[in-house]
Protein backbone atom coordinates (compact mmCIF):
# COMPACT_ATOMS: atom_id res chain seq x y z
CA UNK A 1 0.00 0.00 0.00
CA UNK A 2 1.50 3.35 -1.02
CA UNK A 3 1.44 6.14 1.51
CA UNK A 4 2.29 9.81 1.39
CA UNK A 5 1.37 13.40 2.12
CA UNK A 6 -0.49 15.81 -0.17
CA UNK A 7 -0.11 19.58 0.19
CA UNK A 8 -2.18 22.22 -1.60
CA UNK A 9 -0.38 25.52 -2.30
CA UNK A 10 -1.71 28.51 -4.23
CA UNK A 11 0.20 31.75 -3.89
CA UNK A 12 -1.52 35.09 -3.45
CA UNK A 13 -0.13 38.59 -3.09
CA UNK A 14 0.16 38.22 0.71
CA UNK A 15 1.47 34.68 1.08
CA UNK A 16 3.85 32.48 -0.88
CA UNK A 17 2.19 29.15 -0.16
CA UNK A 18 4.64 27.20 -2.33
CA UNK A 19 7.55 28.36 -0.15
CA UNK A 20 5.50 27.37 2.88
CA UNK A 21 4.88 23.96 1.32
CA UNK A 22 8.62 23.53 0.76
CA UNK A 23 9.30 24.29 4.44
CA UNK A 24 6.46 21.96 5.42
CA UNK A 25 7.80 19.19 3.12
CA UNK A 26 11.26 19.41 4.70
CA UNK A 27 9.67 18.85 8.10
CA UNK A 28 7.59 15.91 6.79
CA UNK A 29 10.62 14.26 5.22
CA UNK A 30 12.63 14.73 8.40
CA UNK A 31 10.03 13.48 10.90
CA UNK A 32 7.78 11.16 8.89
CA UNK A 33 10.05 10.04 6.02
CA UNK A 34 7.07 10.07 3.67
CA UNK A 35 6.88 11.17 0.02
CA UNK A 36 5.17 14.53 -0.47
CA UNK A 37 3.01 15.58 -3.41
CA UNK A 38 2.27 19.23 -4.02
CA UNK A 39 -0.88 20.40 -5.80
CA UNK A 40 -0.41 23.90 -7.14
CA UNK A 41 -0.82 26.30 -10.04
CA UNK A 42 2.40 28.13 -9.23
CA UNK A 43 6.07 27.57 -9.96
CA UNK A 44 7.85 25.18 -7.63
CA UNK A 45 11.53 26.02 -7.11
CA UNK A 46 12.74 23.12 -4.96
CA UNK A 47 11.31 20.30 -7.05
CA UNK A 48 13.56 17.70 -5.37
CA UNK A 49 11.52 17.95 -2.19
CA UNK A 50 8.46 16.56 -3.90
CA UNK A 51 7.54 13.10 -5.06
CA UNK A 52 5.01 14.52 -7.53
CA UNK A 53 3.95 17.99 -8.64
CA UNK A 54 0.32 18.17 -9.75
CA UNK A 55 -0.65 21.33 -11.59
CA UNK A 56 -4.28 22.45 -11.52
CA UNK A 57 -5.90 25.82 -12.31
CA UNK A 58 -6.28 28.47 -9.62
CA UNK A 59 -9.78 29.52 -8.48
CA UNK A 60 -9.55 33.14 -7.42
CA UNK A 61 -13.06 33.91 -6.34
CA UNK A 62 -12.90 34.71 -2.66
CA UNK A 63 -10.77 36.96 -0.48
CA UNK A 64 -9.92 37.12 3.20
CA UNK A 65 -7.81 39.13 5.60
CA UNK A 66 -4.39 37.81 6.56
CA UNK A 67 -2.98 39.13 9.85
CA UNK A 68 0.44 39.21 11.44
CA UNK A 69 -0.43 40.39 14.94
CA UNK A 70 -2.09 43.76 14.34
CA UNK A 71 -1.03 44.20 10.69
CA UNK A 72 -3.51 43.20 8.03
CA UNK A 73 -3.42 42.34 4.32
CA UNK A 74 -6.37 41.39 2.14
CA UNK A 75 -5.78 38.82 -0.61
CA UNK A 76 -7.35 36.00 -2.62
CA UNK A 77 -7.87 32.78 -0.71
CA UNK A 78 -7.69 29.64 -2.87
CA UNK A 79 -8.84 26.93 -0.53
CA UNK A 80 -11.40 25.12 -2.66
CA UNK A 81 -9.26 22.46 -4.31
CA UNK A 82 -8.74 20.57 -1.05
CA UNK A 83 -12.01 18.78 -1.78
CA UNK A 84 -10.28 17.11 -4.77
CA UNK A 85 -7.78 15.38 -2.49
CA UNK A 86 -9.43 11.98 -3.01
CA UNK A 87 -9.14 12.16 -6.81
CA UNK A 88 -5.73 13.84 -6.90
CA UNK A 89 -3.83 11.83 -4.33
CA UNK A 90 -1.45 9.31 -5.91
CA UNK A 91 -1.36 7.29 -2.67
CA UNK A 92 -3.58 4.55 -1.20
CA UNK A 93 -3.13 6.06 2.24
CA UNK A 94 -2.90 9.85 2.32
CA UNK A 95 -2.30 12.56 4.85
CA UNK A 96 -3.48 15.98 3.71
CA UNK A 97 -2.07 18.99 5.52
CA UNK A 98 -2.24 22.75 5.43
CA UNK A 99 1.12 24.19 4.45
CA UNK A 100 1.13 26.11 7.73
CA UNK A 101 0.83 22.91 9.76
CA UNK A 102 4.35 22.24 10.97
CA UNK A 103 5.27 18.64 11.73
CA UNK A 104 7.70 18.43 14.64
CA UNK A 105 7.40 14.75 15.64
CA UNK A 106 6.55 11.33 14.22
CA UNK A 107 3.16 10.80 15.90
CA UNK A 108 1.28 10.94 12.61
CA UNK A 109 3.00 7.74 11.47
CA UNK A 110 0.64 5.87 13.83
CA UNK A 111 -2.24 6.36 11.37
CA UNK A 112 -0.86 4.16 8.60
CA UNK A 113 -1.89 0.55 8.20
CA UNK A 114 -4.06 0.47 11.31
CA UNK A 115 -7.40 -0.17 9.60
CA UNK A 116 -8.85 3.34 9.70
CA UNK A 117 -10.32 4.83 6.53
CA UNK A 118 -10.68 8.46 7.60
CA UNK A 119 -9.29 10.38 10.56
CA UNK A 120 -9.77 14.04 11.39
CA UNK A 121 -9.68 16.24 14.50
CA UNK A 122 -12.88 17.62 15.99
CA UNK A 123 -10.98 19.64 18.55
CA UNK A 124 -8.11 22.08 18.40
CA UNK A 125 -6.19 23.62 21.26
CA UNK A 126 -4.78 27.14 21.38
CA UNK A 127 -1.32 27.28 22.95
CA UNK A 128 -2.70 29.59 25.62
CA UNK A 129 -4.89 27.30 27.72
CA UNK A 130 -6.68 30.33 29.17
CA UNK A 131 -7.76 31.53 25.73
CA UNK A 132 -11.53 31.37 25.29
CA UNK A 133 -11.00 30.72 21.57
CA UNK A 134 -10.68 26.95 22.16
CA UNK A 135 -14.19 26.84 23.64
CA UNK A 136 -15.64 29.19 21.03
CA UNK A 137 -14.47 26.96 18.19
CA UNK A 138 -15.99 23.69 19.41
CA UNK A 139 -19.06 24.08 17.19
CA UNK A 140 -19.48 25.54 13.71
CA UNK A 141 -22.10 28.01 14.97
CA UNK A 142 -23.87 28.89 18.23
CA UNK A 143 -26.59 26.29 17.68
CA UNK A 144 -24.63 24.19 15.21
CA UNK A 145 -22.91 20.84 14.88
CA UNK A 146 -19.49 19.86 16.18
CA UNK A 147 -16.51 21.51 14.53
CA UNK A 148 -14.11 19.62 12.30
CA UNK A 149 -10.53 20.71 11.53
CA UNK A 150 -9.50 20.00 7.93
CA UNK A 151 -6.01 21.34 8.77
CA UNK A 152 -4.74 17.79 8.71
CA UNK A 153 -6.63 14.62 7.90
CA UNK A 154 -5.93 11.05 6.85
CA UNK A 155 -7.84 8.92 4.37
CA UNK A 156 -7.70 5.62 2.57
CA UNK A 157 -9.31 5.19 -0.81
CA UNK A 158 -12.47 3.30 0.17
CA UNK A 159 -16.06 3.54 -1.03
CA UNK A 160 -17.17 5.28 2.15
CA UNK A 161 -14.45 7.93 1.84
CA UNK A 162 -15.26 8.43 -1.84
CA UNK A 163 -18.89 9.10 -0.85
CA UNK A 164 -17.67 11.57 1.76
CA UNK A 165 -15.63 13.54 -0.77
CA UNK A 166 -18.51 13.52 -3.26
CA UNK A 167 -20.67 15.07 -0.55
CA UNK A 168 -18.03 17.65 0.40
CA UNK A 169 -17.76 18.71 -3.25
CA UNK A 170 -21.55 19.01 -3.45
CA UNK A 171 -21.56 21.20 -0.32
CA UNK A 172 -18.81 23.38 -1.79
CA UNK A 173 -20.77 23.81 -5.03
CA UNK A 174 -23.94 24.77 -3.11
CA UNK A 175 -22.22 26.71 -0.37
CA UNK A 176 -24.80 29.50 -0.06
CA UNK A 177 -27.53 26.93 0.68
CA UNK A 178 -25.53 24.92 3.21
CA UNK A 179 -24.18 28.05 4.87
CA UNK A 180 -27.76 29.18 5.41
CA UNK A 181 -29.00 25.69 6.40
CA UNK A 182 -26.25 25.28 9.02
CA UNK A 183 -26.58 28.89 10.25
CA UNK A 184 -23.01 29.97 9.51
CA UNK A 185 -22.38 33.67 9.93
CA UNK A 186 -19.52 34.09 7.48
CA UNK A 187 -19.95 34.05 3.70
CA UNK A 188 -16.52 32.70 2.95
CA UNK A 189 -16.26 29.02 2.01
CA UNK A 190 -14.26 27.17 4.63
CA UNK A 191 -13.14 23.54 4.37
CA UNK A 192 -13.49 22.96 8.11
CA UNK A 193 -17.20 23.70 7.90
CA UNK A 194 -17.76 21.76 4.66
CA UNK A 195 -16.10 18.66 6.16
CA UNK A 196 -18.13 19.01 9.38
CA UNK A 197 -21.40 19.32 7.44
CA UNK A 198 -20.58 16.41 5.12
CA UNK A 199 -19.71 14.14 8.05
CA UNK A 200 -22.92 15.15 9.80
CA UNK A 201 -24.99 14.31 6.72
CA UNK A 202 -23.13 11.08 5.96
CA UNK A 203 -23.70 9.87 9.52
CA UNK A 204 -27.46 10.22 9.03
CA UNK A 205 -27.60 13.72 10.59
CA UNK A 206 -26.61 12.16 13.90
CA UNK A 207 -23.65 12.17 16.27
CA UNK A 208 -21.43 9.23 15.45
CA UNK A 209 -18.16 7.56 16.40
CA UNK A 210 -16.96 7.82 12.81
CA UNK A 211 -14.53 9.26 12.05
CA UNK A 212 -12.38 9.15 15.15
CA UNK A 213 -9.70 11.75 15.75
CA UNK A 214 -6.09 11.68 14.64
CA UNK A 215 -3.65 10.54 17.34
CA UNK A 216 -2.39 14.10 17.75
CA UNK A 217 -3.54 17.13 19.63
CA UNK A 218 -4.10 19.93 17.15
CA UNK A 219 -2.26 22.86 18.74
CA UNK A 220 -2.49 26.21 17.02
CA UNK A 221 -1.66 29.89 17.23
CA UNK A 222 -3.88 32.43 15.49
CA UNK A 223 -2.83 35.19 13.15
CA UNK A 224 -3.08 37.62 16.08
CA UNK A 225 -0.32 35.76 17.95
CA UNK A 226 3.24 36.67 17.04
CA UNK A 227 6.19 34.43 16.25
CA UNK A 228 9.21 35.68 18.20
CA UNK A 229 11.78 33.19 16.97
CA UNK A 230 12.37 29.77 15.50
CA UNK A 231 15.71 28.11 16.13
CA UNK A 232 16.83 24.47 16.52
CA UNK A 233 13.21 23.27 16.16
CA UNK A 234 12.13 25.44 19.06
CA UNK A 235 9.34 27.94 18.47
CA UNK A 236 8.92 31.00 20.64
CA UNK A 237 5.68 32.93 20.53
CA UNK A 238 4.24 36.08 22.07
CA UNK A 239 0.59 35.14 22.35
CA UNK A 240 -2.26 37.61 22.49
CA UNK A 241 -2.43 38.94 26.03
CA UNK A 242 1.39 39.10 26.09
CA UNK A 243 1.88 35.50 27.17
CA UNK A 244 5.33 34.13 26.32
CA UNK A 245 5.27 30.55 25.08
CA UNK A 246 7.95 28.12 23.91
CA UNK A 247 7.41 24.72 22.28
CA UNK A 248 9.65 21.92 21.01
CA UNK A 249 8.72 18.58 19.39
CA UNK A 250 5.03 19.56 19.25
CA UNK A 251 3.16 19.76 15.93
CA UNK A 252 1.80 23.25 15.48
CA UNK A 253 -0.71 24.91 13.17
CA UNK A 254 0.76 28.37 12.61
CA UNK A 255 -2.22 30.41 11.44
CA UNK A 256 -0.05 33.53 11.40
CA UNK A 257 1.01 32.83 7.82
CA UNK A 258 2.75 36.18 7.33
CA UNK A 259 4.82 35.56 10.47
CA UNK A 260 5.60 32.05 9.22
CA UNK A 261 6.83 33.49 5.90
CA UNK A 262 9.33 35.66 7.81
CA UNK A 263 10.63 32.58 9.63
CA UNK A 264 11.01 30.70 6.35
CA UNK A 265 12.88 33.62 4.76
CA UNK A 266 15.35 33.63 7.69
CA UNK A 267 15.95 29.85 7.46
Amino acid sequence: MSKGVVLFAFNNKAINYVEQAEFCAKKIIRHLQLPVTIVTSDKVTNKDLFDKIIVIPKEENQTRNFYDGDQRQKAFWNNKSRTSAYDLSPYNETLVMDTDFIVENDLLLKVFGKGHDFLINHEAQHLDFQSNMTDEMKYISDSGIKMCWATVFYFQKTDRVKRLFTLINHIKDHWSFYRFRYQLLQNTYRNDFAFAIALHILNGHMKSDWPIQLPIKLFYITDRDKIVSYKDNTWQFKLQGDLDCKIKDINIHVMNKIGLMKVIKDE
Binding site: L107, G115, Q125, L127, I212, K217, D244, I247
Partner: protein
Protein backbone atom coordinates in the same frame (compact mmCIF):
# COMPACT_ATOMS: atom_id res chain seq x y z
CA UNK B 1 3.24 51.31 42.03
CA UNK B 2 5.47 50.38 44.95
CA UNK B 3 8.31 47.93 44.45
CA UNK B 4 6.91 45.05 46.47
CA UNK B 5 3.65 45.09 44.52
CA UNK B 6 5.59 45.22 41.24
CA UNK B 7 7.63 42.20 42.36
CA UNK B 8 4.45 40.30 43.18
CA UNK B 9 2.91 41.08 39.81
CA UNK B 10 6.12 40.12 37.98
CA UNK B 11 6.10 36.85 39.85
CA UNK B 12 2.46 36.30 38.89
CA UNK B 13 3.35 36.83 35.23
CA UNK B 14 6.22 34.35 35.47
CA UNK B 15 3.91 31.81 37.06
CA UNK B 16 1.36 32.31 34.27
CA UNK B 17 4.03 31.43 31.70
CA UNK B 18 5.29 28.52 33.81
CA UNK B 19 1.82 27.06 34.36
CA UNK B 20 1.01 27.30 30.66
CA UNK B 21 4.31 25.57 29.78
CA UNK B 22 3.55 22.87 32.34
CA UNK B 23 0.10 22.28 30.82
CA UNK B 24 1.65 22.09 27.34
CA UNK B 25 4.15 19.52 28.58
CA UNK B 26 1.37 17.46 30.16
CA UNK B 27 -0.66 17.51 26.94
CA UNK B 28 2.44 16.64 24.91
CA UNK B 29 2.89 13.41 26.88
CA UNK B 30 -0.80 12.55 27.07
CA UNK B 31 -0.88 12.86 23.27
CA UNK B 32 1.95 10.34 22.99
CA UNK B 33 0.02 7.76 25.01
CA UNK B 34 -2.46 7.16 22.22
CA UNK B 35 -2.18 3.65 20.78
CA UNK B 36 -3.77 2.68 17.47
CA UNK B 37 -4.54 -0.90 16.55
CA UNK B 38 -6.88 -2.67 14.09
CA UNK B 39 -8.97 0.43 13.44
CA UNK B 40 -9.38 1.36 17.11
CA UNK B 41 -7.87 3.88 19.50
CA UNK B 42 -6.73 3.27 23.07
CA UNK B 43 -5.40 5.94 25.40
CA UNK B 44 -2.86 4.21 27.59
CA UNK B 45 -3.50 4.94 31.25
CA UNK B 46 -3.32 3.06 34.51
CA UNK B 47 -6.87 1.80 34.08
CA UNK B 48 -6.04 0.11 30.77
CA UNK B 49 -2.76 -1.28 32.07
CA UNK B 50 -4.43 -2.67 35.21
CA UNK B 51 -7.22 -4.22 33.20
CA UNK B 52 -4.62 -6.02 31.09
CA UNK B 53 -2.81 -7.19 34.25
CA UNK B 54 -6.10 -8.51 35.67
CA UNK B 55 -6.81 -10.46 32.49
CA UNK B 56 -3.27 -11.80 32.42
CA UNK B 57 -3.55 -12.91 36.05
CA UNK B 58 -6.65 -14.86 35.11
CA UNK B 59 -4.75 -16.37 32.15
CA UNK B 60 -7.17 -14.79 29.67
CA UNK B 61 -4.71 -13.79 26.99
CA UNK B 62 -6.24 -15.00 23.71
CA UNK B 63 -9.15 -13.34 21.89
CA UNK B 64 -9.91 -10.91 24.67
CA UNK B 65 -12.70 -8.37 24.10
CA UNK B 66 -11.98 -4.82 25.29
CA UNK B 67 -13.61 -1.41 24.88
CA UNK B 68 -11.68 1.28 23.00
CA UNK B 69 -11.69 5.05 23.73
CA UNK B 70 -15.06 5.35 22.00
CA UNK B 71 -16.57 2.43 23.96
CA UNK B 72 -16.55 0.23 20.90
CA UNK B 73 -15.71 -3.46 21.42
CA UNK B 74 -12.44 -4.80 20.01
CA UNK B 75 -11.21 -8.37 19.95
CA UNK B 76 -7.54 -8.48 20.89
CA UNK B 77 -6.09 -11.71 19.55
CA UNK B 78 -2.91 -11.66 21.63
CA UNK B 79 -3.17 -9.79 24.92
CA UNK B 80 0.48 -10.48 25.84
CA UNK B 81 1.75 -8.59 22.82
CA UNK B 82 -0.84 -5.80 23.24
CA UNK B 83 0.20 -5.41 26.89
CA UNK B 84 3.91 -5.35 26.05
CA UNK B 85 3.34 -2.69 23.37
CA UNK B 86 1.28 -0.37 25.57
CA UNK B 87 3.49 -0.75 28.62
CA UNK B 88 6.64 -0.05 26.59
CA UNK B 89 5.10 3.06 25.09
CA UNK B 90 3.81 4.25 28.47
CA UNK B 91 7.17 3.78 30.18
CA UNK B 92 9.07 5.39 27.33
CA UNK B 93 6.78 8.43 27.48
CA UNK B 94 6.96 8.69 31.26
CA UNK B 95 10.75 8.67 31.10
CA UNK B 96 10.79 11.45 28.54
CA UNK B 97 8.15 13.34 30.54
CA UNK B 98 10.16 13.36 33.77
CA UNK B 99 13.30 14.58 31.98
CA UNK B 100 11.44 17.54 30.45
CA UNK B 101 9.48 18.19 33.63
CA UNK B 102 12.64 18.43 35.73
CA UNK B 103 14.19 20.77 33.18
CA UNK B 104 11.13 23.00 33.20
CA UNK B 105 11.06 23.19 37.00
CA UNK B 106 14.80 23.90 37.07
CA UNK B 107 14.38 26.70 34.52
CA UNK B 108 11.41 28.22 36.32
CA UNK B 109 13.49 31.00 37.83
CA UNK B 110 14.70 32.10 34.42
CA UNK B 111 11.34 32.04 32.60
Amino acid sequence: MDNSLKESLDHANKMKVFNNQLRLLKEKYLERNIYFTIGHQFTIDLKLINYCVTLKNQHKTKDVVMLDDYDLPVRIADLESFYTDILDLYQQNLNAYIVEYNKLVQDKGRI
